[in-house]
Symmetry: C2
Subunit: 215 residues, 2 copies
Amino acid sequence: MEHRQEVSKAVIQRLPRYYRNICELKAEGAQRISSRALAERMGLTASQIRQDFNCFGGFGQQGYGYNIEKLQEELGAILGLRAGRTAILLGAGNLGRALLNNFNFSASGFELLCAFDASPELIGRSFGGYEVRDAKELDHYIDELHPDVAVLTIPRGNAPAIARSLVERGIRGLWNFTGEDLHLEGLGVPVENVHLSDSLMTLCQLVGMAEENED
Amino acid sequence: MEHRQEVSKAVIQRLPRYYRNICELKAEGAQRISSRALAERMGLTASQIRQDFNCFGGFGQQGYGYNIEKLQEELGAILGLRAGRTAILLGAGNLGRALLNNFNFSASGFELLCAFDASPELIGRSFGGYEVRDAKELDHYIDELHPDVAVLTIPRGNAPAIARSLVERGIRGLWNFTGEDLHLEGLGVPVENVHLSDSLMTLCQLVGMAEENED
């Protein structure tokens, strides 16, 4: 599918939002939706949506709109949600445990296998049904089970070195919560750097703008 | 500042990334940067950056680029990071505690005042220096201290009702981790809905695309 290599990062990042909204629409019992209604729901333009979907062959029918079930399957396939990929989680501190207890990894395309930590108080315990293994076992575990991606909920400072060693051992993607940016160019694998501060700063700005509108 | 009302949501969401990168550059000792170098660093185009900054009056000088110190101040002012806004956090479970222990609220524009929870095991304890107060005291606390925003790290199910009651009591923005989307139109205040699944699904897609490129 050569045309997929030309899909921009901006479109790639919109696809999960589309998927999430389609899943909600399905749960609400909707069977179809026009690009205009979807655009309104998502705060986009209908032409943006059509343009985005056309990158993947287009899914709608003139006069009908999009079939929700079909769109969910197509988007799910593009996102690779059913490709059977696996993940491990490094760092069972508060944030790691929050993900283990509450985050639905499989709905986002990954079966979480287990967690790793160096702390004796955490090793051997389970959170959300996932076992916390000794960090000393990590290399061996990766060699035996070949997890696809690693979730980094470890403290700042070690992330670049740990990331390099994971990639050398075959890890093919990183979900990075450490706050230290890791880069594809440096590592050779995709990285999603999560920056919660971006979201809160956006809120700060929006609250300020709402104040100005009151004056 | 009327022109700010015309700034698109897309630009608003890019500003925190600009600010974060400028802060990193400053920490690296840089004093100035060209729009081209900034674009390369951030995976954007130089013209996008210039266009974005022109929404706020433009900050650079032809031939010089941008002064990092000045840009940090200007962006910080636009984001409202020094406007003295305050926040409270509802729900001191794992995710709430992860934020209390590790997240730098003031660097994102908000002084966090305290947390609230209904659980006797958590009430009266401190995490990251923040006290967990009894959820029963919440209404009174808001009436007395008028926090600007609330961070919702409570379970799904209650979010819409709790959000409405917070807004009625004067809360002016919500940072929503519950997974249930809350909407500005329904509430009348800005809401940042955090969806970690969007980020992991993006990673899933990128890992799949990297596999295809290997074939």
